[in-house]
């Protein structure tokens, strides 16, 4: 594993389309559920332990070499909101474009051929980590981090939240990011022996409901 490759992949400026997605923060800001650094932190914590954990485990499993088609079906079943399925596939396709240019491998080409409409982003992320020479725990870390860095960045733009406070939120979540990533990697290892049912399916009903409402807004700044 190359620590530098991990930094490249996890960099918020890695051009994979994430900047246009708020991870549910736009809907939560508008509803008033996020209105300061403390509520942002609680939002990020909730997302990390639900959608973040699920994504991290899928990414770790893909990095481990589990069948991407099986993982993509598992991701579909874990994403009841059609708005979020669409967002996940779009982000997956955008990440795959960047990944193939950055770490070209036959495995990524095969994934693009198998999923012309895009695979779920965490699955693509796991295979991208593989292509970059990273392992399952690395992939889980990136997925877990993205699950909170997206909402944090978006909230800075949406609320004019002090960016230092947003960075502080992410730093305070670090121990939980580590434990969620480790749990995800362990689950991926179990899924290799027991099948995808061993992957967590943690979900947040409110994130699903709000994502569906957000998709209906006539005017919005973020795609999800």
């Amino acid at each position: 594993m190359s620590l530098a490759a991990l930094l490249v992949l996890a960099d918020g400026r890695f051009p994979a389309g994430g900047h246009a997605h708020s991870g549910g923060a736009e809907a939560a800001c508008k509803a008033g559920r996020i209105h300061d650094a403390a509520t942002l932190e609680e939002f990020c914590r909730g997302r990390l332990h639900t959608a973040g954990l699920t994504a991290a485990a899928l990414a770790a499993a893909a990095a481990l070499g589990l069948d991407p088609a099986v993982l993509d079906a598992a991701a579909d079943a874990r994403t009841p909101s059609p708005a979020l399925r669409t967002a996940a596939r779009r982000l997956g396709r955008q990440l795959l474009r960047a990944a193939r240019a950055t770490w070209p491998t036959a495995e990524l080409d095969a994934l693009a051929a198998a999923f012309p409409r895009g695979a779920h982003q965490p699955v693509v992320l796991g295979l991208t980590a593989r292509a970059a020479g990273l392992g399952p725990l690395d992939a889980a870390h990136v997925a877990a981090y993205e699950s909170v860095s997206g909402p944090a960045t978006a909230t800075v733009r949406l609320l004019g939240l002090d960016p230092f406070q947003a960075s502080g939120v992410l730093a305070r979540l670090a121990p939980e990011l580590d434990s969620v990533s480790a749990r995800a990697a362990r689950a991926a290892d179990r899924a290799r022996r027991e099948g995808p049912d061993a992957l967590p399916a943690a979900s947040s009903p409110l994130l699903d409901i709000a994502a569906q409402a957000h998709a209906d807004w006539p005017v919005r700044l973020f795609a999800s």
Binding site: G17, H21, V219, L221, A223
Partner: protein, 228 residues
Amino acid sequence: MHLDHGVTYPQRHTHSAEPVRADGSRRALRIGLGGPVGSGKTATVAALCRALRAELSMAVVTNDIYTREDAEFLLREAVLPPERISAVETGACPHTAIRDDISANLEAVEELEETVGPLDLILVESGGDNLTATFSRGLVDAQIFVIDVAGGDDIPRKGGPGVTTADLLVVNKTDLAPYVGSDLDRMARDAAAQRGELPVAFQSLRGEQGVAPVAAWVRERIAAWAAR
């Protein structure tokens, strides 16, 4: 760098940037339109669609900071059928979407080519931004920067990447110049000083010529694209 036609762009690693696809077909020419808020980007796009839609198969991608506003304007104006207009969310950062991370825009142009069939021209309209916003060469083949006389006749002198390097600079709303005290000659002189040989079009969409000079420039680019 801005006159890089005739060569394969070495900096393009995106999988849709090559002019000729794997199957030998040629993708559409992509022209970006950028410029400050209110300078008339959307009106220029609408006028270009009306002027060129009979001779070219066209589509438009909009990047308004508020998603869909521009797309809805174009739809209301019925300049193109709705399936040829696509809107991209920019996460409150319009310049990021056209320069630093062009993923969503590339998706949109590719989807348009897939869904409405072979296209000759795709116009990518940026969200209104500042004078430093330019398009990535990974996204568009040429870019037009639209400013207007009401924004101040010192904008060409101030320069900035948009004014200086765009393949075409459009100075819009020339009909308003007498009312806002803008000196068109001075703007032309300053633009020439900033841009060298690069062309400048003075445009009044209400005037007799309307979008014709810009449309003529687009036709030249289309001809050069087809010849490559």
